[in-house]
Amino acid sequence: MRQQHDVAQLGMWVFLATEVLFFGGLILSYCVYRSAYPAAFAEAARHTKIIIGAANTAVLLTSSFLVAWAVAIVKLRQSRFAAVLLWGAGVLGVIFLVLKGIEYGMEYDEHLLPGLDFFYPGEQARAVGLFFSFYIVATGLHAIHVAVGIVVLGVIGARARQRAYSDAYHSPVTVAGLYWHFVDMVWIFLFALIYLPGRSG
């Protein structure tokens, strides 16, 4: 069982390595365009909603905390309380998506979403469009990962409620946890790249 658990962990890390390069490619394109148009990217980033972004970061970090707690509990014994923690983490994931949706709505109203309705006055329009193209693709793909994670947490939570996991068998919880923490980690970097530039100008 010990070996099975290690292999499950290893497999998830292999998948996460592909995810690192998937989001890494996006971030590379961001870095290239930001170094080409630093002023426009700072100006564009000032239009993002930093309060919603920061609140969402706190929501995801707390959600990750609940999952880490659930993992710690199922490793000790069978517990239905782990289900409460996993579902709690899922609910925080839903809150994240709702806030993100509100944010998209505000940006749509401000004509900041390329492909839907983009209009930006001034000579920086094209580079600002590049920033918001990255913004919508990166946060959109991240939101899909969050949505998948919510479903996974729901299912794993239901199984935990049936006392399916114990000190001897808990790989699904730890592997789902790895995925959820990774989604959190991607957001940590997206937050720093999207919301923070240009604030001190």
Binding site: L10, L61, T174, L178, A192
Partner: protein, 102 residues
């Protein structure tokens, strides 16, 4: 609530540290540091990611093989960023005909 339901100390401390770092990075973004703002934001993001990886993802308890797999993705990402930037950063040294975007 029985006693073994309490979260382990390490993850509580990590969560508190992550929240503190989030506050710090938001406040830091408003300080007039010039290019230092980006450096500060990326250093704090890296510390947050390291905390999540080491404590929440339990990498500090894993065997060397798992650690190697966990680092592999970031290693290749580093190579991708390095090669891409050695390209874009050196383009101004070449004749305009070779410039990007023309």
């Amino acid at each position: 609530m029985t006693r073994d339901r309490y979260p382990p100390r390490a993850i509580v401390v990590s969560w508190a540290a992550l929240m503190a770092l989030l506050t710090l990075t938001v406040l830091g973004a408003y300080l007039p540091l010039g290019a230092g703002n980006t450096v500060l934001a990326m250093i704090i993001a890296a510390i947050k990611a390291a905390l999540v990886a080491a404590i929440f993802m339990e990498l500090r308890e894993r065997n060397p093989l798992t650690l190697a797999f966990a680092c592999a993705g970031f290693f290749w990402l580093g190579i991708m960023l390095w090669l891409a930037f050695s390209d874009y950063a050196t383009r101004p040294n070449f004749p305009p005909a070779m410039h990007w975007g023309q």
